[in-house]
Assembly symmetry: C2
Homo-oligomer: 303 residues x 2
Amino acid sequence: MGGAKLAEGLYHVLPPEELTIIVNVGDDEEFHGLHVSPDIDIMVYTLAGIVDESRGWGIRGDTYNCLEQLGVLGHETWFRIGDRDMATHIHRTMLLNSGKQLHEAVDDIRRRLGVRCRVLPATNDRLRTMVETVEGVMTMQEYFVKHGTRPEVRDVWYEGAEEAEPAPGVVEAIKSSQAVVIAPSNPLLSIKPILAVKGIREALEGYGGPVVAVNPLIGGRAVKGPADRMMRSMGLQPNPLTVAKLYQGLLTDMVIDLQDREYEAGLRSMGLGVHVADTLMRDRGDKVRLARYICNNVLGMKL
Amino acid sequence: MGGAKLAEGLYHVLPPEELTIIVNVGDDEEFHGLHVSPDIDIMVYTLAGIVDESRGWGIRGDTYNCLEQLGVLGHETWFRIGDRDMATHIHRTMLLNSGKQLHEAVDDIRRRLGVRCRVLPATNDRLRTMVETVEGVMTMQEYFVKHGTRPEVRDVWYEGAEEAEPAPGVVEAIKSSQAVVIAPSNPLLSIKPILAVKGIREALEGYGGPVVAVNPLIGGRAVKGPADRMMRSMGLQPNPLTVAKLYQGLLTDMVIDLQDREYEAGLRSMGLGVHVADTLMRDRGDKVRLARYICNNVLGMKL
């Protein structure tokens, strides 16, 4: 969510050919025999301008007749796939079954939907974010959608991450970039499963340029979603210091919200450049403003 | 169409557990990476009472948002699949990909949609009705839907029919039945691809009981569809004698329409029992009336 919002801002601030967006696949899952990539689809729908902004996922104005009928045929329907959204999954599955890799399928879909910047899955390999809760171990979507993020989280891990190779283009995009921005997404569910891919972590460690994380917590609270509750139940303080530690060894800079000035000194003592801004993104204007702030004030571009 | 109509009549006249419907798969085709069985779906939707009767296919009140979005993603959309209808194809494909055979998938779907009689595909193997037209060779759906049955037909054949095995249950159903009824469907596109399966043809040849065909042409014209035009362009007269010859060696009886009394003597001279009835099925009442006529007057049941 926060990831797609800031990406939308960057997409409207930077020339699209200079922007590459690397997206989490840890919440990919098979539904109805179709390969579903929720984070990638939110990103692509957002950049294509067709996302249902009131919910933050799916396609605006979509209907649910196919899913309802799948329910009649005995399928679980807690993961809400609209009829237009279903087309994406049918198309992606067809491409994958025909021998294409995930990054090729994503590239095909984003082009057909008119998205002009590159969107890359972190990996083409199987990587699954697993959430251990008081009600048992579940996949990310089971935790997030089926259980509505209600069960208390004890631990999170990224199945397959150590063996997963970065998708073609990911390491090259990092190496050739002027700067890397880590978006204000849930650190445990959206960012860490990207950084858990060994080749991506190593590329960032050896990168040399600015790596700027935007802190997703404002005043100790997630703007949306369970990041703050998860951190607390895992024994972590939901504040910028914790986020900086989760990304330790990879960051050069952090952007924090005006409400979090109290952490500035602590972050500086970790060796980070700290930048204070209004990070709440309510609308397109906010997204563009924050993106421009990062490019101009943090990275010294002249846009 | 005529097949589904008479089946609906028989379904409401006979105890469903005594009825087995064997359906053509020659127009099965893959669309969007999904296995589509048009004839089976028309049959199941009809018996389930959800068919769009005004069109004779698809589900009543369906929407087309998924298909429209597949068009955005570059897919051909001439084969009109509604959103609810798409669920059937997604479900069937999932079952087939999980190792189930087509007859198992069909049985699962008909049960879930509340159809109480058995519906069997003629074969689980690949069998495709190919239509040679003046505009080239095409599959049944390309001829029927993409080209709207406009190109003149020169020949029709059934690819894979000689190698195809009858689906489990088909031969047993024939052998154990009191009677076999060949529905008033297009002989070349819907009935012959069933009879072209060697094991089915042999089962009927060795059957011994009554095999009653209902002539699909009324006064030399198809009630719906291109049967009459196809026959003519293939050098066949569109009348009951031609249909009887197409099924030669398999029939004991034929039901013809009141308008076709002139062919009665000719059919008798072919050794067939001939039964004259009003065969046009406009509504449920007509379907039940014709089904009851066949059971009581032709087959001597007491329903």
